[in-house]
Amino acid sequence: MKFDIEELLAALPSKEGGDPRAPQAVFQRLKFLAQAMQGAEGQEGVGLLLRWLDQKGWKSRALPADGCPVTIGRDPACEVVLAGERVSRRHCLVRAVLSGGEIVDLDSANGTLVNGSPLKAGALVLRDGDVIEVGGVPLAVVVGRGLG
């Protein structure tokens, strides 16, 4: 990349600045995505990358495009473990496929959101730049160059 994407989108209008009519939720997701995508540079050979923040910093989980689901939840046995009172023990499943990814909620108590919308029954297609919220914890979906 020729530019620092995190720095760029840190400049997006916040609640304190910019036009108050602009959708704030989109601003916030783009800021998060900008940081997540920057950290995804150089990750090659995976179908999909999940990026999220915990107390120690950015975490990543690469999913090969083999269709095998990865479990996200609070249970230490999950492939992606998220701390958070609103995260269910087994919260949702994500898998990478050739065209991107898919996600399904495992009847979690607090539900799973994708770009602010709650998941319904069945699988939802994931695309590059989607933001998943699992019990309030945001995870960026990165299907960028070198990742496919």
């Binding site: 020729k2 530019f3 989109v26 783009l30 499943l93 991107g100 297609v125």
Partner: protein, 203 residues
Amino acid sequence: MISTNDTLLNRLRADNAHEAWKEFYELYWGAILRYARKLGLGEHQAEDVLQETMVALMRILPEFAYDRDKGKFRNFLLTIVHRKSLTVLRRARKERKSQVPWTASGPADGEEFAAHLGGAESEALARWRESLAEEALRRLRSAERLGENTFAVFDAYVMGGRPPKEVAREFGLKENAVYQIKNRVLRRLQCEVAKLMKNSGAT
């Protein structure tokens, strides 16, 4: 140091595009939402278009080869907004394939199957210009560069198509004042639209 002569596009592609991205977002969020809504998308879906358009731009723009003579950036931006709108529209119609079981074959890639502009380009461009014009009018109003009364006169006469004599009577003005308001607002509107179009290359 960014030269004031640099186009917004060039500044977006520069190493330090911090302010340029902010400017781009602030310029176009309204027009992109309006365009998506014109294609029949709901408010939340239009926000998806906005997010997906911005993500696509962040991905592509640094390596985009701009040919000013061919006006490619105009087509490039419009195509992204249009395709993202169609993708989200198609997704909404299929409820984003939300009923697909895990055992089903891989889902269709919205990008791969997104419709091309093709023969509908002029229609799409007209819709985009209309979105820009509406956004320009909203900006004029929100920046309080246009008084409520002035806008009401303009709205009644120009947008509502009512006879100037009737509008003048309603607002307690002379008929000539109604024409003056129309000309004044149109001049400001043209400047605002020109600013948006210049930056998107939609000239």
